[in-house]
């Protein structure tokens, strides 16, 4: 049976993979079951909660709504790709410090949504943060610590930018 499934090429967190999967298999399941990247979570399976959020070709998507076929050739970023060389990403550091994660189940998706937001808008104001995270439900935090985390991460990358600027001179 599996022999007749198409082979799908995807690059996840910089690593290329060939996956044989039914074309309508959800990207979420490809990540979790085929690639054993279980950081991406399922909360609703219907595009409402955002806990399955990943970046696909630079866009924020709910991986529970993306069929494997559609991910053919795509570049995917998941929570597992955030930390580099054992060093937490500034967003992860900020979530840790500011209490942005409680039960943690929304966190991988929230981090990806926050990363996506900062990629387009490095210094969002509170209204922009609220809007950017509106597709990601968190039942634990009441969102305040998450907003604070994003603000802190933005400030930190601002420090890092200045640092790079200073180094360049």
């Amino acid at each position: 049976m599996s022999e007749c499934w198409p082979t799908i090429r995807i690059t996840v967190n910089g690593q290329r993979h060939l996956v044989q999967a039914p074309p309508m298999k959800r990207l979420l399941d490809v990540l979790r079951e085929d690639l054993h990247l279980t950081g991406t979570k399922e909360g609703c399976g219907e595009g409402e909660c955002g806990s399955c959020s990943v970046r696909m070709n630079g866009e924020l998507v709910n991986s529970c709504l993306v069929p494997a076929l559609q991910a053919e050739g795509a570049t995917i970023e998941t929570v597992e790709g955030l930390a580099q060389k054992g060093e937490l990403h500034p967003l992860q550091q900020a979530f840790l410090k500011c209490g942005g994660a409680q039960c943690g189940i929304c966190t991988p998706g929230m981090l990806m949504a926050a990363k996506h937001l900062l990629a387009h808008n490095p210094h969002p104001d509170i209204a922009e943060i609220r809007e950017g995270l509106a597709g990601n439900l968190c039942r634990c935090t009441g969102f305040m610590r998450i907003f604070e985390s994003v603000i802190a991460a933005a400030a930190q990358s601002c420090v890092a930018e200045e640092q790079r600027g200073a180094d360049a001179r």
Partner: protein, 753 residues
């Protein structure tokens, strides 16, 4: 304990213990775990609310030989879930009492085969008449549970209520209703179970209370304690929703594991979780209150009814807490509370953050504003005139022996929110604006720990040990599900022993490893279990000093060297402590009199709400919460608890409606059961006033449930302030607002005829 002594780690916002794992996406939730040869399980559920099962047929288009099928007749032990009364079957046997009741279980190696198979089981029923509301159950025709449809009743009496009415200057009556609320933890219920004849049953799961599940499995499988092992996996939210339900789900998966000979994973999808698992009890509360000329309470006559659903589960203890929180934080010489929990043919209601208190606090705090309006007194002032103080007695005649600082909390909340100035400003603006603003208050307590003699019955055991690998472990069955158990308990242990935070870890929440420190419920963990860990830590150091030559002052290396010596001599380096009730605690379970709770946490909340009279939407614009919950062990985590609880309370008030049709939830999706999002939650300002409680872990009291108690009444009080319209039930959705505002407009501006 000396709580005034300065602490190094307690009181510091150290990072969440398991935080890095969660942030890296490597924390292992149950669905992230695979077992060798694992199958998947699914549940065939009742499609009627009540009736006899006449036949079960299996569609021939399915090759059933590939499935394991479990029915009630496969249960080796008692077909009941062990909670307070063992009335809920593990699998329906001949009769169903609610929609979605589990009848059959199926397992297959391929989870994608299960949905079709579930649909290919055909069950024929002989329906029986059913009841779906408190009022229908009260008619006691038909009787759907026991002899009278009543799960539990309480009568609490103080003074003489009946003699108070004659001399009262004012009598105010009101009826208040609250709807069901879904926990909506983002991780649905799920477990994995294994079975073998030699080792018995092992369950991994998303759950709050490993020993509750353990107890239930012992009965279902008729096994000795050592043959059942329950291990909590990382848990993606619970809020009470994983207090009792996992006992049922674990039994289901374990039965399938036994029948199939394979590990079986059962993970509910969102629709199944919403349709089949517990929710907050709906309630109806009636108040009749006598007051003197000054607005002082003379008598409170309170009648409480809750809808418990089809089986008793935790309804009696939820009702108990509802009863004990119903008079609010006020002094009143004459109080009578009559409460009942009623059976209906809906999915059993269960534990949810606050455990009955949000329901009755909604009623009393809404009622206080009705009284204030009737008497023409400012709502803040009316409360102040009736607040409990040190030395006063509650409705159960519990004397307030610890400081009660409600006046201070109220003053702070009014100042932080700029309450009076804003009210004046809105009163000026509202008449000419389509958007009407208002301010609303709620004042309340939440009893920390189990009610009455509960903690004594639990008799919790907890401690610390030192492993050969040089780690200090906290030994508790208290679980982490976001609220901060891991962090707070390791902080306390590190503080007590004199080590660093990073030297202490949590032992796995595995009934095969840790002692029973009681369930992780009732805002008891930091206070009760925290105190046990504090004592156990101090005791460990004393043991090492006495038996292993540990000096008065010691380095980390000296501590671990002494632990090694101690282990070499005694076999293990462990220190356990058992619960000791604070002295002078008395509780009469019959009369419901005495020390209802070992301690109370106190709070005053203020909501600023804007009601758009054109769109009929109510929006909370800002929220303030001032609380005294003893010593704050970790300010960032504590603040997160307050904010998260308030967000849930806002949802309870304005967003979250469980739509039931013949006992079935029909909006069982996240698309139509709506919770507040990042765009809906207002700025929340949380402030703590700390008074260490001498019998809590480093002075802590309970914090987790407190914040959920106040938002609903504070918000509806603010809507009354804004619009002049009193609302008596929640959830209050735009259509409800529309109906009421339109009706009022019709009175104010009679149509020209």
């Amino acid at each position: 304990m000396n709580t005034s002594e300065t602490t190094r780690i307690v009181g510091a916002s150290v990072a969440r213990k398991e935080g890095v794992d969660k942030l890296l996406g490597r924390a292992r939730y149950v669905d992230d775990i695979e077992r060798e040869g694992m199958w998947h399980g699914a549940t065939v559920r009742s499609s009627i609310p009540r009736g006899f099962i006449r036949s079960i047929g299996f569609d021939r288009r399915i090759d059933w030989s590939q499935f394991s099928v479990v029915s009630a007749s496969d249960i080796p032990g008692d077909n009941h879930i062990q909670l307070i009364v063992a009335d809920q079957p593990c699998l329906a046997d001949g009769m169903v009492n609610h929609r979605e009741e589990a009848i059959l279980l199926l397992a297959h190696p391929d989870k994608h085969k299960l949905r079709e198979a579930v649909e290919a089981v055909h069950i024929e029923y002989e329906p029986l008449p059913a009841v779906f509301s408190i009022e229908e159950s009260e008619r006691q025709d038909p009787i759907v549970w026991g002899t009278d449809n009543v799960f539990k009743t309480f009568l609490l009496e103080k003074g003489d209520v009946d003699s108070a009415w004659a001399d009262a200057a004012h009598i105010v009556e009101g009826e208040y209703r609250t709807g069901a609320q879904e926990h909506l933890y983002i991780e649905n219920n799920g477990v994995i179970a294994e079975y073998s004849a030699e080792t018995g049953v092992t369950v991994w799961g998303s759950l709050q209370c490993p020993f509750y599940v353990h107890k239930s499995l012992l009965a279902v499988f008729d096994l000795p304690a050592e043959k059942v092992r329950v291990i909590q996996t990382e848990t993606g939210g619970a809020f009470g929703g994983k207090e009792d339900y996992p006992s049922l789900l674990a039994a289901h998966a374990a039965l399938l594991a036994m029948k199939s000979g394979h590990p079986v994973k059962m993970i509910y999808d969102r629709m199944e979780d919403l349709a089949a698992t517990t929710k907050r009890h709906p309630s109806r509360v009636r108040h009749r209150t006598a007051l003197d000329n000054e607005g002082k309470l003379l008598a409170m006559d309170i009648e409480i009814a809750t809808d418990g659903g089809a089986y008793s589960t935790l309804s009696s203890t939820v009702l108990s807490r509802a009863t004990l929180h119903s008079p609010g934080p006020y002094v009143c010489p004459n109080v009578r509370i009559r409460s009942r929990s009623w059976a209906t043919n809906t999915v059993p209601y269960g534990a949810f953050r606050g455990f009955g208190a949000p329901q009755t606090i909604f009623a009393v705090e809404r009622h206080m504003d009705e009284i204030a309006a009737k008497l023409g007194i400012d709502p803040a002032e009316l409360r102040r005139r009736n607040f409990l103080h040190d030395g006063d007695t509650t409705a159960t005649e519990q004397v307030m022996r610890e400081p009660v600082i409600l006046d201070q909390l109220l003053d702070r909340a009014l100042a932080e929110s700029n309450y009076h100035a804003k009210r004046a400003q809105f009163t000026g603006e509202n008449p000419t604006s389509a958007v009407k603003r208002g301010m609303g208050i709620a004042a309340f307590y939440h009893g920390s720990g189990f009610t009455g003699s509960g903690e004594r019955y639990l008799n919790s055991l907890a401690g610390v040990d030192v492993t050969p690998e040089g780690e200090v472990r906290v030994l508790v069955s208290s679980t982490e599900f976001g609220q901060g158990t891991n962090t707070v308990l390791t902080q306390i242990a590190a503080e007590a022993i004199g080590l660093d935070y990073c030297d202490v870890i949590m032992a796995p929440a595995d009934t095969g490893i840790v002692p029973n420190s009681g369930p992780t419920v009732a805002s008891r963990t930091a206070m009760v279990v925290g105190r046990l860990i504090e004592r156990a830590g101090l005791q460990l150091v004393a043991l090492l000093r006495e038996h292993a030559g540990l000096g008065e002052h010691f380095t980390r290396a000296e501590f671990f060297a002494a632990s090694e010596r101690y282990r070499a001599a005694k076999g293990e380096a462990v220190s356990l402590c058992r619960y000791q009730p604070p002295p002078g605690i008395f509780w009469d379970d019959q009369k419901y009199r005495g020390e209802a709770y070992p301690a109370f946490a106190w709070s005053v909340q203020v909501a600023q709400v804007a009601v758009d009279t054109v769109t009929c939407s109510a929006e909370v614009e800002e929220f303030w919460a001032v609380q005294e919950a003893g010593r704050v062990i970790n300010p960032v985590l504590a603040t997160g608890q307050i904010e998260g609880g308030i967000a849930q309370g806002i949802g309870y008030a304005l967003y979250e409606k469980v739509l039931l049709q013949n006992g079935q939830m029909i909006n069982n999706q996240m698309t139509n059961y709506i919770m507040p999002t990042a765009e809906d939650v207002p700025p929340i300002h949380a402030h703590f006033v700390e008074i260490p409680f001498q019998h809590g872990g480093y002075g802590a009291k309970g914090i987790g449930e407190l914040p959920h108690d106040g938002p609903a009444p504070a918000i509806l009080n603010a809507i009354r302030d804004a619009t002049g319209v009193s609302f008596h039930s929640i959830p209050l959705l735009p259509e409800d607002l529309f109906a009421a505002l339109a009706a009022r407009q019709a009175i104010e501006e009679p149509a020209a005829v």
